[in-house]
């Protein structure tokens, strides 16, 4: 899933300066799963904003709403009656959701309440970790199912570097060395011979270096 983290409250308050009526719009997708942008998060953030503005003697009216997904025009359309009524929308979706909203409602300022942080998963409740950098050319078959691009701090395709110490990365003793994980797994799979194959220089055109990406299912285009 796409993991997002709420922006600092002060930054959010600054975005809302000058507005008297806004919508705080949650997303029922990934950010609900990672507990930062769903219905509950909308309620909590909205009360915080109201309280802060009341305290300043500058009250704000907030419409609270959450849609199934903000990265889908069908759901984004569901707030079309409400958006003209507010001065701005504070979206609690990931960056994709915020942009789908901004593209749909061109006359209303859209503000992000989250920083979209990474593609990953939860190892336990409330604990999320990065696993994929969406490079567009999956190499997991060659590296024991562990991604060198996402898990090595230098994204080395032929690691580990000389900074790997006791299974940890040189940047932080709390960060696992991605290449140690790869090697442990290759050993478990009895595939250590793969280590000596040099992984080719990557073609980053499939990553964002090729410009904004698209995926089109031709059979659905009619």
């Amino acid at each position: 899933m796409v993991v997002g983290e709420r922006k600092p409250f002060e930054e959010i308050m600054k975005m809302l300066e000058g507005h008297k009526k806004v919508m705080v719009l949650g997303c029922g997708g990934c950010v609900t799963v990672c507990l930062t942008g769903g219905q509950d998060a909308v309620r909590v953030l909205s009360s915080q904003i109201r309280m802060a503005r009341d305290k300043d003697g500058n009250p704000i009216e907030i419409i609270e709403k959450t849609v199934e997904r903000q990265c889908d025009p069908e759901y984004v359309d569901q707030v079309q009656e409400l958006v003209p009524d507010v001065e701005a929308v504070l979206s609690m979706a990931c960056g994709a959701g915020v942009q789908f909203m901004a593209e749909r409602y061109t006359k209303t300022p859209l503000y992000p309440a989250l920083n979209t942080t990474f593609v990953g998963g939860s190892v336990k409740e409330g604990y999320y970790v990065e696993r994929c950098q969406t490079c567009g050319e999956c190499k997991l078959a060659y590296t024991g199912g562990i991604c060198p691009i996402a898990r090595c701090s230098k994204s080395l395709l032929n690691g580990p570097c000389g900074g790997s110490t006791k299974g940890k990365c040189e940047i932080d003793p709390n960060v696992d060395c991605g290449w140690q994980l790869i090697l442990d797994r290759l050993r478990d799979l009895d595939q250590m011979d793969r280590y000596e194959q040099i992984l080719d220089i990557a073609d980053w055109r499939t990553s964002r270096d090729g410009g904004p990406r698209k995926m089109i299912r031709e059979d659905f285009q009619r």
């Binding site: 580990p160 000389g162 790997s164």
Partner: protein
């Protein structure tokens, strides 16, 4: 190993003629004053065969390795231009390889580069378009096949003697020989190792290297760094990732009175070189006297490595 040189590098000539090579190191300044390099060159001249010019080491911004290499050549010393993958993509890397070679650089060291977290610009975006092994492949391809990575012809190939680093002390130990084998497969011609303090472990690694016959495919220069003080030894032991300083060496530095610690550090370095000279498969030493260039000559002298042969 073939005695025939691929380049005009003095370091390559020394190594291919079977002589025990010595390389040193020179860190560029954090400013635009060329005098800093000239002063270091005056201290280093004739004390080794070639000298690494570091490339923004520990991710701290310094004068570029190419320009520092040129200043060094003007002083009559042979540089080993270091190049890291952290700061350049393949376009800039290939361009700098051509530029370095055009300016007269004859040796290049291919490195991944320290993570920018350690430096003075931790906010920087890193590149790592290539890794160190792929960088070796890139230079080899440009030099020997006359091709850029994109496939186009290089008009006027860069005649560079190609080196890389290897750290036998980083984890996991079991892949440290295979990792060298990968660098050899990529086309590396000489290796400078991480600073050796744990000779026993280094010996184990070298045994693995020799058992696989890798020492017959690549020249291995053992890395030696003198401790300036007990404080520095302790810092390297505790704070530098991938560094292995055995407890007895730390104790030896600690037991030495403060005013004699520098001499003791040099003594340890000289002893290390003596042992490396006897070790099968070792073709030379790489003396890294960090911001202590004036001691390279003393260490080389005491280790019986001077005068350097003329080739």
């Amino acid at each position: 190993m073939s005695g025939e040189c691929n380049t005009d590098s003095r370091l390559e000539k020394i190594l291919r003629s079977g002589k025990f090579a010595v390389t040193g190191e020179c860190g560029p300044p954090r400013g635009a004053d060329p005098e800093v390099i000239r002063k270091k060159c005056a201290l280093l001249k004739d004390k080794a065969d070639a000298f690494n010019i570091t490339d923004n080491q520990t991710s701290v911004v310094r004068m570029s390795s190419i320009s520092s290499s040129v200043i060094m050549m003007q002083q009559g010393l042979e540089p080993v231009m270091q190049m890291v993958c952290r700061d350049r993509n393949r376009i800039a890397i290939q361009s700098d390889i051509l530029g370095g070679a055009a300016l007269g650089v004859k040796n290049m060291l291919c490195l991944s580069g320290d993570h920018q977290k350690f430096g003075d610009h931790p906010q920087a975006k890193n590149v790592f378009d290539l890794d160190s092994i792929q960088l070796i492949q890139t230079v080899r391809r440009m030099r020997d096949e006359g091709k850029f990575l994109g496939g186009e012809e290089v008009k006027g190939v860069p005649k560079l003697f190609i080196g890389a680093a290897e750290n036998p002390f980083a984890d996991p130990f079991e892949i440290r020989v295979p990792r060298l084998a990968k660098k050899v497969k990529a086309g590396v011609e000489f290796i400078q190792t991480q600073c050796i303090f744990n000779l026993k472990k280094f010996g184990e690694w070298m045994k693995g290297v020799v058992d696989r016959g890798l020492h017959e495919k690549v020249f291995i220069l053992g890395g030696v760094t003198p401790f300036k003080s007990f404080g520095m030894a302790r810092y390297m032991a505790k704070n530098v990732p991938g560094m292995d300083v055995p407890e007895e060496l730390l104790q030896r530095m600690k037991d030495t009175p403060k005013e004699q610690q520098a001499d003791e550090g040099i003594k340890i370095a000289v002893e290390t070189i003596q042992q490396l000279k006897e070790m099968p498969g070792i073709s030379g030493v790489h003396i890294m006297a960090i911001e202590w260039e004036e001691k390279v000559g003393e260490i080389a002298e005491k280790a019986g490595l001077l005068p350097r042969p003329s080739v």
